[in-house]
């Protein structure tokens, strides 16, 4: 067990440490780096889309390439950027917030991140191996079965691998929060970010299996000759739409709930007040999670389910606005009368309220089924979901990055650059998407690669593209900020914002790898604020210093994921040129090696799993003496700093 302390470790050692780590704090960094990379990739794709649409009759991207770019933009942003970045913050913060030494299943945590990384790489390799998927991020079966080449296969297999990772992480976080809370951390004392993570994790557990099934049916149809979606053979493409949206709508709440949680923390820290209406917030979170499963058909109003079905789903959809509204009012009441500090995270949080409300309002408009016949598949929809996803989720990710940066890296991002970034991003965001509401109402369809001159779309599209460029500028400023901060490497101490209210801010920075030397005792909600008011600001311990049981690092998760990655190629090329294959791949050259690659990949995965099962790994103990030495060293360091 190599715990490098104090000494500078070589690059190879650090790399090996990260490849094998099971520490939630390091896995958070992995999620942050990989999610950040895919966020940049999706951002570049977005710039390509807006460049193509900036002027009429443009041929910067061909029609086919445009379809690939929009598909990969949506898929990358949702599955490979937004969710992993949220997982980065959950990993970094949630165990610390509830007083746990790690997540419930550290091994699975590592497996989750590697499955996501390999799935993401698999999906993006499509660019180099004959063309990316081009049926939209929703990949409706009628389009995707007909899509020639292997693009859709990359989508299906890549999402299956990454999705398995997400499902595993969902189970992990639900278990962690339910079973690993410190003494005194009752459900109704959990910080809001922990609550929203719990509900989002449960949503993942319920929502991902339908996606898994849908994607498996797609894989069987495209690669192994089945007929679930092939109409000529008695299949039904509508099944895909239902399965996708049964997953898809909860998915948007999986994204937005943790964002709500982060904003709740930020509002109360920088208003120096307890969150207003805590129990109402918890109730609203749970209610949103529950309702989220009963509304999926609002994405399918125009499919022809019939007026009764549409009415039921319209009503259920509108009902969700009620708990969401409760939240908005509670946030406003939290700020009200608070002693507000305008930091970068707080600015994002303040900007989030009006931006997200606008997205909510268009959501309600679309929920009215008859009206949706007008909006559907127009730019109005694009405006709606970017208002909620960018104005809600991306704002939260950027706010959370600034807010939790000290916990994750031990340094503080520049506030000056941060505020500049926030202002430019905010302006760019509204400039890009506000005008798209009108474009939609004027009749511009979504997912069409160009438009004619003289339809009145020119100016609005140009404005939208300029806004997109502004957002890119803001992200570049953020990158500069990050690089400058990392190079300067000025370490900060405990509670760097000065107003931390919850347990994670009570820890020294960087937190020791075992998080808590002694299990903390939680005496109330916002425990650090409570101890600051009533005591000396230190969290009491629930017990003496005791030896701590820790898991060993493991390379097996990497191998399991690698095996599936390799098997993916075997599955993908299996149907190439086979007589029974669907038309889309029947004319491609035969790949006789495909079956062997599939078997070899699965063998790697199952052998790795076997090694994990049959070779006992009992972990190790940190002795009492080591812990006491650490505590003394920490005390000396903090006394020296003052």
């Amino acid at each position: 067990m190599a715990q490098v302390k104090g000494k500078k470790a070589g690059f190879g050692a650090v790399l090996w440490d990260y490849l094998t780590t099971v520490d939630h704090k390091k896995i958070a960094i992995l999620y942050l780096i990989a999610g950040g990379f895919f966020f940049a990739l999706g951002g570049i794709e977005a710039m390509l889309i807006r460049a193509q649409l900036a002027i009429p009759n443009n041929d910067f991207l061909s029609a086919g390439l445009f379809n690939e770019v929009i598909t990969m933009h949506g898929t990358t942003m949702i599955f490979l950027a937004a969710m992993p970045l949220l997982f980065a913050f959950m990993n970094a913060v949630v165990p610390l917030q509830i007083g746990a030494r790690d997540v419930a299943f550290p091994f699975l945590n590592s497996l989750g991140v590697w499955l996501f990384i390999f799935g993401g790489i698999f999906l993006n390799l499509s660019w180099f191996l004959g063309g990316a998927p081009d049926a939209g991020w929703t990949s409706y079966a009628s389009l995707s079965i007909a899509s020639p080449g292997h693009g859709i296969d990359f989508y299906a297999v890549g999402l299956q691998i990454a999705g398995a990772g997400t499902l595993i992480s969902g189970i992990n976080f639900a278990t962690t929060i339910i079973t690993m809370r410190a003494p005194g951390m009752t459900y109704m004392r959990m910080p809001l970010f922990t609550w929203t993570t719990l509900v989002a994790a449960i949503l993942i557990v319920f929502a991902f299996p339908p996606l898994t099934i849908g994607v498996f049916l797609m894989i069987f149809d495209r690669m192994f000759g089945s007929n679930f979606f092939i109409v000529e053979a008695g299949g039904n493409t509508i099944i895909w739409e239902h399965l996708f949206w049964i997953f898809g709508h909860p998915e948007v709440y999986i994204l937005i709930l943790p964002a709500f949680g982060m904003f709740s923390e930020i509002f109360s820290v920088f208003s120096r007040k307890r969150l207003f209406g805590y129990s109402a917030m918890v109730f609203a979170t749970v209610l949103i999670g529950f309702f989220g499963f009963m509304v999926w058909a609002h994405h399918m109003f125009t499919v022809g389910l019939g007026p009764t079905a549409n009415a039921i789903f319209a009503l259920a959809t509108m009902a969700i606005a009620v708990p969401t509204g409760i939240k908005i009012f509670n946030w406003i009441a939290t700020i009200w009368g608070g002693s507000i500090e305008f930091t970068t995270p707080m600015l994002y949080a303040l900007a989030f309220i009006p931006s997200f409300v606008m997205g909510g309002v268009t959501g309600i408009m679309q929920a009215a089924a008859p009206a949706d016949y007008q909006y559907h598949d127009s730019y109005f929809i694009v405006a709606h979901f970017h208002y909620v996803i960018v104005g809600g989720v991306v704002f939260a990710l950027l706010a959370g990055l600034h807010f939790y940066w000290p916990i994750m890296t031990g340094t503080m991002l520049s506030e000056k650059l941060g505020k500049l970034e926030m202002v430019i991003f905010f302006i760019g965001f509204h400039c890009t998407f506000l005008i798209q509401h009108w474009l939609g109402l004027w009749g511009m369809p979504r997912r069409v690669f160009t438009y004619l001159d003289g339809q009145g779309y020119n100016a609005a599209n140009m404005i939208s593209s300029i806004g997109a460029a502004l957002m890119a500028v803001a992200v570049i400023i953020l990158l500069i900020n990050i690089i400058k901060t990392l190079v300067k490497n000025e370490k900060v101490g405990r509670d760097p914002w000065g107003d931390g209210r919850t347990l994670e801010w009570s820890l020294p920075i960087p937190a020791p790898y075992y998080n808590f030397a002694q299990t903390p005792l939680i005496r109330g909600i916002d425990v650090l604020a409570l101890e600051k008011e009533e005591g000396d600001g230190t969290i009491p311990s629930a017990g003496p210093v005791e030896p701590i049981h820790m898991p060993n690092n493991s390379f097996i998760p990497f191998m399991i994921s690698l095996g599936l990655f390799i098997a993916g190629f075997g599955a993908l090329y299996f149907a190439s040129g086979k007589p029974w294959a669907i038309d889309a791949v029947a004319d491609l050259p035969v790949r006789p090696w495909a079956l062997y690659v599939l078997i070899a990949g699965l063998a790697i995965t199952f052998i790795s799993m076997g090694v994990r099962s049959w070779k006992d790994d009992l972990g190790y103990y940190i002795t009492k003496e080591e812990l006491e030495a650490d505590l003394r060293e920490l005390e000396a360091r903090e006394r020296g700093a003052n």
């Binding site: 099944i239 239902h242 529950f290 019939g306 079905a309």
Partner: protein, 113 residues
Amino acid sequence: MAHHEPEQLTETQLKYLRTERTKEMRIQMISFGLMIFLTFIAFALVALELDKNFIVPIVIGLAFIQVALQFYYFMHMKDKGHDFAKLLILTGLYFAIAFVVCFIMIVWIGNPI
């Protein structure tokens, strides 16, 4: 998670543990027997070639009893400390049934309603 070293059990504790385990085993055996019996009834109904409309609801009903036995007795849902798991399983069951009913109504039957 800190694992505590197993402490030496006293004579009475050991006895208590043994009776508890015997009781648990008896319950497992009874529910196992019951489940075999229910399966037998289902098979018998089909083998007797009774009216379809009569068999189907009964078999589905038996299936629900089986699921309940499985969850409560074999997967320990009856034991203490499983409240959250119970809540999630029931919620999941509710969603799953809703989805299946929905699929039958609007995909399989397929007439717009």
